[in-house]
């Protein structure tokens, strides 16, 4: 296609629940590409005993899966090395957010896909909206389910194309009732929990809006062969978001939300934690570990994260904000028992006093209450 980079193209088929037809549509496209004479293989495919979907794999070459033994049980994973050796033009990889069995070379299937892309192989893949990292808290708010397997937003942003696989919830429920998606007992459970109408409708709306956002940001990035960017808001915004990280578990929510808002505003996102004592043992070891974990969580989302030193947290935070041109500060909502003093005694009020030019957002606890 004339690009200087040899990196493969990534296309994501995005859905909002199992059974909407992501894999089916991906395989349909694979068949079309094969008809066009492209060299295409299936790297990983999850049949889920769905007849129509399995029928779509007919005539497509499949790379045998790798057998992995873990604690006496055999698992099957995508054989990334075998795909690299086979070197097809296009590779079909189902279930992008999948976590590999411990002991695999990489933790996540999306990381395996990165390797394929780096080798110049184009990849078609599938995922549901609930696996997008920055939506994790909203998804939990909607569905009551905390999704563990997530894909960082920057991975999705690197996709060359995101396509929404849409089906109205009544039709999806109908599929479930007819036993197309799951075996009867599993279908019944699903209908009672995840597949409730408002949950499906809300997730579907999230998926539609996210896809619209993906489409829009590709226009803004001028992805279309160096076309001039859309006049209105092509340039980077003047906003800069800083998220304050502590050892509190709610820091994770603040990081996700700050990053999401920053992405939508085309703003930079930074994270800092503040360490009071010059010596490492100043903090409880567990607290320090929690802070390190949260900073690493931020780094995995491509948020620049730092540990600063200062005896007065608010002062250090504000100084950092001013030096770095920060316009907005995000902080976690404190745990309920400490809420009485959210504003009157904690860091938020001090920050507001030191820096009346900063907007301060207290991030919601979106976990279901």
């Amino acid at each position: 296609m004339g690009e200087s980079s040899e990196r493969g193209k990534l296309k994501v088929f995005l859905g909002y629940a199992a059974g909407v037809g992501k894999t089916y549509q991906m395989l349909q496209e694979a068949q079309k590409l094969k008809l066009q004479g492209r060299d295409i293989v299936i790297g990983y495919f999850e049949p889920h005993a769905r007849k129509d979907t399995i029928a779509q794999t007919e005539g497509l070459e499949a790379i045998p899966r790798r057998q992995v033994e873990y604690r006496g049980t055999r698992f099957e994973e995508m054989d990334t090395v075998a795909i690299l050796v086979r070197r097809p033009e296009v590779c079909v990889v189902d279930e992008f957010p999948h976590t590999n069995v411990p002991g695999s070379e990489r933790d996540k299937r999306w990381q395996d896909v990165q390797v394929l892309l780096d080798a110049g192989i184009n990849v078609l893949t599938t995922m549901n909206i609930q696996h997008l990292e920055s939506l994790n808290d909203q998804v939990s708010q909607i569905s009551g389910i905390r999704v563990r397997e997530t894909v960082p937003d920057w991975v999705m942003q690197q996709a060359d194309e995101v396509v929404m696989v849409d089906v109205p919830p009544p039709a999806l429920v109908n599929r479930l009732l007819r036993g197309v998606v799951y075996p009867p007992d599993k279908a019944k459970k699903a209908l009672e929990h995840f597949f409730k109408e408002p949950t499906l409708v809300a997730l579907r709306e999230l998926a539609l809006r996210q896809t619209a956002h993906e489409v829009e940001s590709r226009q803004l990035d001028g992805e279309y062969n160096g076309q001039p960017q859309r006049e209105t808001n092509g340039q980077k915004s003047s906003e800069r978001i800083l998220v304050y990280v502590s050892s509190e578990p709610s820091s994770v929510m603040a990081i996700r939300r700050a990053k999401r808002v920053a992405d939508y505003l085309h703003a930079d996102c930074l994270a800092v934690a503040i360490h009071r004592e010059p010596e490492m043992n100043g903090l409880q070891v567990a607290e320090m570990e929690a802070i390190e974990r949260h900073l690493n969580f931020a780094r995995n989302l491509h948020v620049e994260a730092r540990l600063l030193q200062g005896s007065d947290a608010a002062k250090t935070l504000v100084e950092f904000a001013h030096v770095n041109g920060v316009t907005q500060l995000f902080v976690a909502r404190p745990a309920e028992e400490r809420l009485r003093s959210v504003f009157s005694r904690n860091i938020v009020q001090q920050v507001v006093r030191f820096a009346p030019d900063l907007q301060v957002t207290i991030v919601a606890d979106r976990a279901r209450t």
Binding site: R38, P168, V201, F343
Partner: protein, 364 residues
């Protein structure tokens, strides 16, 4: 999901009863929405018709545009077609024939099509309404380029003037909407566009139309969600759509707050509401400031709400919960009065009550 019982108003109840009565005899409407011709709307429509027929439903094709699309041929052969009627060489769906035939499901392509002069209905979507009223289900397809309210924007992208349109409200009345997002020319097989001299502009235009179609579908879905929640007396913050509530007072830093709210709402394609809780005995000076702040809200096209309530924070929170607000913007005066310190500041109480919502503080 935070559930709390919310009693529907008498008006809402009445509307619901009327709607229920009507929808009992009315056929169900399903719309396949696409962003361009060739994305496969008609295929999806016919394919669904075929599947329903195989499951034993009585399905006919009421209207299909004449075309050379070979992909549709095998599907069409399996279907019963009610012939179009022609007047001055313009085709129209034969509504009378469809009503006489009285199928369970009728497939209608090209919803925006204009009927020939002298027809009972000017446009095909009105024909569809008639078919639905007769208790027949309709599966139809429409291109986002033909939505009345989007016409200007779309014409700006395509440069083509559109004569035939369907009002947005018709889509909002659909029982089901399905977005057909499969790109015509994909990243991996962009063969058609590559051959066009204006390939890049064309791809760019398509991408903009896609975004419009996705957001339109999201709005329809949001409307369905709201209707569902209302019917079930649930006020829930599901947070699928960002809704920003800016609370203004006479002395708040309103311009910064409202403009920031506007920017956020735009980027998230969400809603912006500016609310003021009426305060007794407002001084003349404050009234002037307040009017100025509300004028800013009007300027940026925000929805304005004047709320009544004894207690401002409780009033705001109640409103925010009912509307499914996801972010509250609030000003905070740095000059705290002694009684505020004593009772806990307004902001403090707002944060405590705003479960599931972000609170953004604007110092002033």
């Amino acid at each position: 999901m935070t559930n709390s019982a919310r009693r529907p108003t008498p008006d809402e109840l009445l509307r619901q009863v009327q709607a229920d009565e009507w929808s009992e005899h009315r056929g169900r409407l399903k719309v396949f929405l696409g962003y361009a011709s060739g994305v496969g709307k008609s295929f999806r429509m016919l394919d669904e018709g075929r599947r329903r027929k195989e499951r034993g439903e009585d399905v006919v094709v009421g209207a299909l545009q004449p075309r050379t699309d070979s992909e549709l041929e095998p599907l069409l052969q399996k279907m019963e077609v009610v012939p179009l009627r022609y007047s001055e060489e313009v085709a129209a769906m034969d509504v009378a024939a469809v009503l006489r035939r009285r199928p369970h499901v009728c497939l209608v392509d090209a919803l925006a099509h204009n009927n020939p002069p002298g027809s009972a209905n000017r446009s095909r979507w009105q024909d569809v309404r008639q078919v639905l009223d007769a208790g027949i289900d309709v599966i139809t397809s429409v291109n986002v380029q033909y939505i009345e309210e989007l016409r200007e924007r779309v014409e700006g992208i395509t440069g083509k003037h559109v004569e035939q349109t369907v009002p947005k409200s018709f889509l909002f009345g659909a029982d089901e909407i399905s977005l057909v997002d499969a790109p015509a020319g994909t990243t991996l097989s962009r063969t058609q566009e590559a051959a066009r001299p204006d390939g890049d502009d064309f791809a760019r235009g398509l991408s903009e139309l896609r975004e419009i179609a996705l957001l339109l579908a999201a709005d329809v879905v949001d409307h369905q969600l709201e209707t569902y929640l209302q019917r079930n007396g649930v006020s829930a913050s599901l947070g699928a759509q960002e809704r920003i509530l800016v609370c203004v007072t006479p002395r708040a830093n309103a311009r910064t707050m409202i403009e920031s709210g506007r920017r956020n709402a735009d980027r998230f394609h969400g809603e912006l509401v500016v609310a003021y809780v009426r305060q007794p005995e407002l001084s003349a000076d404050d009234q002037v400031l307040l009017d100025r702040n509300l004028a800013i809200a009007r300027e940026v096209g925000a929805e304005i709400q004047i709320l009544e309530g004894e207690e401002p924070i409780g009033t705001i929170l109640q409103f925010a919960r009912n509307r499914g607000v996801t972010q509250i913007f609030v000003g905070h005066s740095l000059e705290q009065k002694w009684w505020q310190r004593w009772t806990g500041s307004h902001v403090d109480r707002l944060v405590r009550g705003a479960k599931g919502m972000d609170v953004r503080i604007f110092p002033h």
